[in-house]
């Protein structure tokens, strides 16, 4: 339930609610360093299992830094900084829009180093927000369902496919419920910006009784178990990491465009040990020099060559544009259209 309570908290934020609410922690773990003493407190949306290899590698390099790792949903991460002013030294989140808002509204510290200077321009903003992974939204299909049907390579292909075989896909499509999933909302809004086919596709998916999910994991499980023929806009990194131990599924990257989510880190204004936060930012910014970690975590590091236009990869642009979809009215309007398309009874 990473992105649950999204709507509620967001509204609260935008109305600058004054109520005090301790943010909701999902799990936490303390990593005692061999020669500790220096403590870094990290709040993150990434699960402990996913992030642990990074922390261990980090401590190998910096044996003096204890790591206090707290996992929370993206809205709770935002909440912790924006409202509670928790003294975290680093906030890591997949919700680019919320991270952008934190930086825009002055909750992040400026940090510059050689490592951050080497990041491509699209992977940082204001020297406050630093991307360290690039995770595309992909389509995951069941091999069995596409036995006799050619795999679509673009969204137009997919639309044609759904029009041609409605009975085959009816009730067997999955996607994020963008009302509850922040990531789903991010991908959906980017899709709506990038292509005119998005609303037609949503309309079609709604007509074919698409099942709505909160998270990528459940979608992949349902594909593997034959309940779904395909899922649209699944987080590619999760899908890849499940690929090994889940037979019968396949990742289909569209080649018209791929929205690429950037996982970002920022050093909050409230940090007690911003220097340690900086050390961790440097470590994350240089993840592309530690490819063994990529294999362990399934998080693809920033690579310099995805920015060019010949590529279908479209990293979601950091910057004030992301604030647009956080706008209350905008969000209302978008969700209304989406719900109308998706739930046609």
């Amino acid at each position: 339930m990473r992105h649950s309570r999204f709507t509620a908290i967001l509204s609260a934020l935008l109305l600058a609610a004054t109520h005090v609410c301790a943010f909701e922690v999902e799990s936490a773990k303390f990593y005692d360093a061999p020669s500790g003493g220096n403590l870094i407190r990290i709040v993150s949306t990434a699960d402990i299992e996913v992030f642990e290899p990074i922390i261990l590698a980090f401590q190998k390099l910096h044996p003096d830094i204890d790591v206090d790792y707290t996992v929370a949903s993206s809205t709770e991460v935002m909440n912790a900084i924006y409202i509670d002013g928790e003294p975290f030294d680093l906030a890591i989140s997949s919700a680019m829009d919320l991270q952008t808002k934190l930086a825009n509204d002055g909750y992040a510290r400026t940090y510059r180093s050689t490592a951050t200077a080497n990041l491509p321009d699209w992977a940082k903003w204001r020297d406050q927000l630093f991307a360290f992974t690039q995770e595309p939204a992909v389509m995951v299909v069941s091999d069995e369902a596409f036995k006799d049907i050619p795999l679509p390579t673009t969204r137009e292909d997919l639309i044609d496919l759904l029009r041609d075989h409605p009975e085959h896909f009816d009730g067997r499509i999955g996607t994020y419920d963008v009302r509850t999933s922040g990531l789903g909302y991010l991908f959906a809004t980017q899709d709506s910006r990038n292509t005119g086919s998005y609303w037609r596709l949503t309309e079609l998916m709604g007509r074919l009784n698409t099942k709505l999910y909160c998270c990528s994991g459940q979608m992949i499980t349902d594909i593997a178990e034959g309940r779904l023929a395909f899922a649209y806009n699944v987080l590619g990194s999760y899908a890849s990491s499940r690929l090994k131990d889940t037979p019968g599924i396949r990742i289909v990257p569209f080649n018209d465009f791929l929205s690429v989510m950037l996982r970002t880190a920022l050093i909050p204004k409230t940090a007690r040990n911003p220097a340690a936060g900086g050390v961790m930012v440097d470590f994350l910014a240089t993840l592309n020099t530690r490819l063994e970690l990529n294999a362990q975590t399934g998080l693809p590091p920033i690579s310099n060559d995805i920015g060019d236009l010949s590529n279908a990869m479209r990293p979601i642009r950091l910057g004030p544009g992301l604030l647009v979809f956080l706008d209350r009215l905008q969000r209302d309007t978008f969700l209304r259209s989406w719900s109308n398309s998706m739930e046609q009874e």
Binding site: G319, P320, V324, D327, R328, L329, Q330
Partner: protein, 460 residues
């Protein structure tokens, strides 16, 4: 010549003034470039802000009596394209925030004007530039005024400003350097005619008092004119002095000569020994004073004329013969014999006859003066590499006098005894010889005792 004291330098002053002007202009250029560029940068930000706010205002619509808004993606993303500045926005309907940052300050008076209202204010600890756009939205029955405020921090602008300042500094400094270099050149060129004039004046001979006729710029014409008028005055004054000397010589010599002749006549008529002796003394005194006066005036004339010789073609043999003839009576008075050793072949020379005559006469005069009675003076004129006119006598010689000093003005030997003299004779001879490119050689008479004075003149 007295050394001219340099008080300042036109060139330096010109360069300094021009450099000063260049510095002022550079500063002005710097300020203007910066002001214009910064204004342009600010205007750019304002334009983008206005575009953003307008696009938001354009997206306003009404639905069931309420103002609604679908915030256009480009409205905020366009602000992110030129800089990484923080962006704030707020939409206000009837003093209520419809959406956005509800603490973003709205301009005080807002309903009276449809124009975009820009302001610079402090928000969330940073200076922001904001624009407010007012739009009337019809909500069914009534018309509601909606204000859209978009604000952006000015970090990008500051970065641009820093860059502009650097560029403007470079432009200003470059301009200054170029202008200074050019002003050096300009000073050089401006002073060229002056240098030319100075050179043309410096190049001319000592006695060249002709007016300066070099082409000069208008500014130098007064200088050249006063220079020319000064020179003409100088020339007039010189001519006057020369005339005076000639006149004076004439006025002094003629009466003396008359007196002398009269004295001789009387001397001849007298028979009384005492009277005769007195008259001889008188004649001698007349001779001396006439010689002294003559020498003084001669020297003055020589000094004058050596500056501008009035040359003509003469024959040195003829000249020597003439001088010997003229002094024969004086020598004869002391029973001195003048032996002239001179061939008949022509000895052409281009020189100032009056000066040469004067010089040679003075030397021969000395020889007679310092020779004892009943002796021989040998005058020899030879021509090989140059002309040598040698006067050798059997007199007392120069004794231990310093031969290098003896030609000096009013310089007399130590062994002159009772013989009167002015100390100018050899001076005149020396000056004349040098004015003709020759020299005077003084030595003891090699043929025996006595002096030997030789005038050496170049053979052209």
């Amino acid at each position: 010549m007295t050394p001219t004291l340099a008080k300042g330098s036109i060139r330096r002053r010109l360069v300094l003034q021009l450099a000063g002007i260049a510095a002022l202009l550079s500063l002005a250029l710097f300020l203007v470039v910066r002001a214009v560029a910064e204004h342009a940068a600010e205007e750019t930000q304002d334009n983008i802000l206005a575009a953003s706010a307008t696009s938001i205002a354009d997206a306003l619509y009404s639905e069931r009596g309420f103002v609604r808004l679908e915030l256009p993606y480009s409205a905020l993303s366009m602000l992110g394209t030129i800089s990484e500045d923080r962006v704030f926005y707020r939409v206000v309907v009837d003093d209520e925030t419809l959406t956005g940052y509800d603490d973003l300050p709205a301009p005080e008076v807002w309903s009276d004007s449809r124009k975009n209202k820009f302001s610079t204010l402090s928000y969330r600890g940073e200076t922001v530039r904001s624009v407010a756009v007012t739009r009337a939205v019809s909500t069914g029955s009534q018309i509601t005024d909606v204000m859209v405020i978009v604000a952006q921090t000015r970090l990008g602008l500051e970065a641009i400003s820093t860059r502009i300042t650097a560029t403007a500094t470079a432009v200003g400094a470059g301009f200054f350097l170029v202008a200074t270099a050019l002003s050096l050149l300009a000073a050089q060129t401006a002073l060229l005619p002056l240098n030319r004039l100075a050179q043309s004046v410096a190049r001319r001979g000592m006695a060249d008092l002709r007016p300066v006729v070099t082409e000069t710029p208008a500014e130098l014409i007064p200088l050249v004119q006063s220079l020319n008028s000064f020179m003409s005055r100088l020339r007039a004054s010189l001519t006057r002095s020369e005339d005076f000397i000639t006149e004076a010589a004439h006025r002094v010599r003629t009466p003396l000569a008359t007196v002398r002749t009269q004295a001789e006549v009387v001397h001849r008529r007298q028979s009384g020994a005492a009277d005769k002796k007195a008259l001889r003394e008188m004649i001698r005194a007349i001779d001396e004073s006439s010689r002294s006066a003559g020498q003084l005036l001669d020297h003055a004339m020589v000094t004058f004329r050596t500056d501008h010789l009035e040359t003509s073609d003469i024959d040195l043999g003829d000249m020597i013969r003439d001088i010997c003839d003229r002094l024969f009576p004086t020598a004869d008075l002391k029973d001195i014999q003048i032996n002239l050793d001179c061939t008949d072949q022509p000895m052409p020379f281009s020189g100032d006859p009056i000066l040469l005559q004067n010089a040679l006469r003075n030397i021969l005069d000395n020889a007679i003066k310092y020779s004892p009675a009943d002796s021989v003076i040998t005058v020899r004129l030879t021509a090989n590499g140059s002309y040598l006119i040698e006067f050798a006598d059997q007199g007392r010689g120069f004794g231990d006098a310093d031969l290098t000093q003896i030609v000096g003005r009013f310089e007399r030997g130590s062994n002159v005894g009772d013989i009167v003299g002015s100390g100018l004779g050899l001076t005149i001879a020396d000056e004349v010889a040098r004015a003709h490119g020759g020299k005077l050689e003084i030595s003891e008479n090699k043929g025996g005792q006595g002096a030997c004075v030789t005038v050496v003149l170049p053979r052209s």
